[in-house]
Every structure is written in structure tokens, then in C-alpha cells.
Amino acid sequence: MKVRRLIILTLGLAIAFSGTLPLLKRIFADTKPIVQLNIASTTPRAVEDSTQQAIVRDYSAAWQGMGTALANNSIGPLNENFTGYALDKLTERVKEQTQNGLKTRIVDHGHKVDAIFYSSDGSAIELKDTATLETQVLDGDTVIHSDQSQVHYYAVMTGAEDRWKVRVLESTQ
């Protein structure tokens, strides 16, 4: 009788854990990624304090939005944070993922970002980002690829109506 109870209890705990872990993971994934911005070597114009704060906020939001979009195959989060070529490419990817039944899950461990160019008129900023990412590709619910690596990105952000939006996002070797 005691053994039976123990087995049931163990099974119950196992079920609870298996449900809680993905939930915690999802909650963790929904938080904004950490962005550390360095503006020491920005040319030709120095980045103002308010712009620095806005870039950190909006670049982080863009990564969060991209993570949500690729994980859920939804375009909404992209429109809020991306524009131009970056928006076109990500939208296309989400559409093709949906067609093929694929998803991409990104666990974002943070970004070390250097602002390398800030235009004289203050309308565009280029960022060089070293991102620590864990990427999983899923076919349905099956993980078919998983890797964790540091990926270098170049991003160009431009001022939009109430925020900075990512116009170019390209990874390099």
C-alpha cells in the first residue's frame, strides 16, 4: 500500500515538474533580453543619454518581438519593432515557417552591443551586437536542431513615430 502511494506521489510530482518547467521556460523567454550598449566609439555624432536609453529599450523589445514571432509564427510582434528590409525578411520567414509547420525558439542570454555609427542628423544608428543565443528549430513539437552560440549581428535602427525600429538585421561570421 505504501509503495503504491509512493509511486503515485512520484508520478504526480513528475507530471507537475514536466508541466512547470516549460511554463517557467516560457515565462523566462517572454522577459526582455538584456542589452548592454557601449557608445564610446560612436561616430560621427555622440549618442545622447535619452537616445541611448531608447535604443536599449527598443532593441531589446525588437529581440523579444522576434523571439515571440518566430516561436508562435505570428507577424504582430514584428510590425511593432521592425521596418524596411528587416521586417520584409522576418515576415517572409514567419510565413514560410507556418507553411512548413516549423517554429524557431530562441532563448536569449543577452546582447553586448556597440553603437558604431550615429548619423549627423540623428535619424539612424548602426549597432554591432554579440548575442548569446540558444536556438531550437522545431518541426511540429519535435526539436530537430538545437545550438547555443555567440552570434554577431549588425543592426541599423531608424527613428519611427514613437520609437526606434530595426530596419536592418544581419548576422555575420
Binding site: D88, F117, S119, E126, I144, Y154, E170
Partner: protein, 289 residues
């Protein structure tokens, strides 16, 4: 006998493991270029599924393991980090690779400001972001030529792009007019127009041209800036007459290069002229001039 069976089993397990390991090995070219077809070698046998996931693209199709997978140029139009995955009978095999951008074909060129006074140092800025024909950001240094032409004179600057961007700050030319500001990379050019307008008036002078009933007519000489460009019509010129009875002010717009005003006739008055912050000569009329 038992030992033999055990050895046989170990060999079989190793063989199976090696077979699994080789089931879907991927061979990807060193540096694929965006928009150019290439093939990915696979190993193993039987049916499999091939996935290609990258920026802007997500491909899934059935393949025969052991045969090369042909990746079409249109499937890899985007530069960046890609993952090729093959699923066969064993576990999925994947490989990360990078696609490079092609040659420069698009310039995103912004010129500021759209209207600028002539001969002003560092007043015109041009920023060019360089992309290939699939709108991939070209990060390798690329020579960019910036040229500013107006009224037959051209000034050029050659700049190498750094991490995808090239920029200059240039002085506006001495001549007024619609300046053509051009950014060129190889045979690709993008043109912007910067309207160069006359700067502040220089050597502003007026004189009396006549009288009309109880009024005096004053008129400026043709109004030009310090480099000889006519100050645009519509610019306001202020005439101020001061005499014993007080002050009369007339704001007149430049018309056909000159400004003209009717002021009350006076026995003894001083008339001054100004355009913006620039002061012209003074006239003493009546008891004076």
C-alpha cells in the same frame, strides 16, 4: 560460444552506431553567396527530410539520403546564419553555415538638409548604406564616391564604407541652385537634390528713386549674397524711417532682385534698411541728403 556472441553483438552495435552517425552527414560549401545555387552533400540511405532555416527563409522537403541536395539561388537570397538539417531514420543531423552577401547593387542614400545656404562649411551630410540586390547589408569595405554638382562645378569625395556605411560632411558650393548630390558604388548611382540658396545679403544698399505726393520712394540695389548669388524673391527687407514725429517701418519683399518701399515724406529723417540680421546703409533725407 557466449564470448563469441558477445563480440559479435558489440561489433553489430558499433556498426549500427557508425551507420547512424553517418546516416545524414552534411557537406556544405565553404562560403555560399546569397542568390547563388549550391548543393549540400548528404550521406546514408533511404528517404529523409531536408530543412533549411535562415534569415527570411524556411524550407522543408523530402530527399533521398546519399544524394546531393540542390539548393536553389532563390532559396538562399538572404545573407547571414543558416541551419541545414537532415532527418533520416536516425536522429536529425544539422549544420550551421553562413551565406555571404553578393556584390553591391543597392544604395540607401540620405542627404541632409534638403535646403542649405551657399558656401557654408560642413553643412551638407550624406550617408550611404550599401546592400546587394537582395538587400543584404555589405559589410566588407566598399569604395563610395560622393559628388556634389551645381551650376557646372562638381566636388567629389571618395570614401570607403566601413561596416556597411559610408558618410561625408561637405561644404555647400558657392553657387546657388539645385545641387545634384550623388552617391556611386561601381555602376550604381543614387541621386538626391540639395537646394542651395543664396546666403545672407551682403553689402545691402538703398537709394531714393523719387517722390510721390507726400511720400518718398526708396529702393535697394540688386540684393546679392557675398558670393554674388541673388537673394531669392520674397525675402523680406525692412525699411525704417525715423524723424521728429516718430518711426515708420515698412516690410517689403524682394521682387525681381530688389526691394522697394514708400515712406512718409519728411523735412528731416533718417532711413535705415535691413534684411534679417544684416544692416544696410543709412540715408538722411529732407534737411540732410
Amino acid at each position: 560460444m557466449r564470448r563469441l556472441i558477445l563480440i559479435g553483438l558489440v561489433i553489430a552495435v558499433c556498426w549500427f552506431a557508425a551507420d547512424l552517425a553517418n546516416a545524414a552527414e552534411l557537406r556544405i560549401p565553404q562560403s555560399p553567396v546569397a542568390g547563388q545555387a549550391f548543393s549540400i552533400g548528404t550521406s546514408g540511405s533511404g528517404d529523409g527530410t531536408f530543412y533549411l532555416v535562415g534569415p527570411g527563409t524556411s524550407v522543408k522537403r523530402k530527399i533521398r539520403l546519399g544524394e546531393d541536395v540542390q539548393v536553389k539561388g532563390e532559396e538562399v537570397r538572404n545573407a547571414g546564419r543558416w541551419v541545414a538539417i537532415v532527418r533520416g531514420s536516425g536522429g536529425p543531423q544539422s549544420q550551421v553555415f553562413f551565406v555571404k552577401p553578393g556584390k553591391a547593387a543597392t544604395i540607401n542614400f540620405s542627404a541632409r538638409p534638403s535646403r542649405v545656404p551657399v558656401a557654408r562649411p560642413d553643412s551638407v551630410s550624406g550617408v550611404a548604406f550599401i546592400f546587394d540586390k537582395f538587400h543584404n547589408f555589405i559589410l566588407d569595405p566598399t569604395p563610395v564616391k560622393f559628388s556634389l554638382s551645381v551650376a557646372g562645378t562638381t566636388t567629389s569625395h571618395n570614401v570607403n564604407s566601413k561596416e556597411g556605411v559610408a558618410y561625408i560632411n561637405s561644404s555647400s558650393a558657392a553657387k546657388a541652385g539645385a545641387a545634384q548630390f550623388v552617391a556611386t558604388v561601381d555602376d550604381v548611382s543614387v541621386n538626391r537634390v540639395v537646394e542651395q540658396v543664396a546666403s545672407d545679403p551682403c553689402n545691402l544698399r538703398m537709394h531714393v528713386v523719387g517722390h510721390e505726393k507726400d511720400q518718398i520712394i526708396v529702393q535697394t540695389d540688386p540684393i546679392r549674397d557675398c558670393t554674388g548669388n541673388a537673394v531669392p524673391d520674397g525675402t523680406i527687407v525692412t525699411f525704417t524711417e525715423t524723424d521728429n514725429s516718430g518711426r515708420s517701418v515698412v516690410d517689403a519683399r524682394i521682387k525681381k532682385g530688389i526691394a522697394r518701399a514708400l515712406l512718409p515724406a519728411s523735412n528731416k529723417a533718417t532711413i535705415a534698411v535691413a534684411a534679417g540680421v544684416i544692416l544696410g546703409n543709412e540715408l538722411h533725407v529732407g534737411g540732410g541728403e
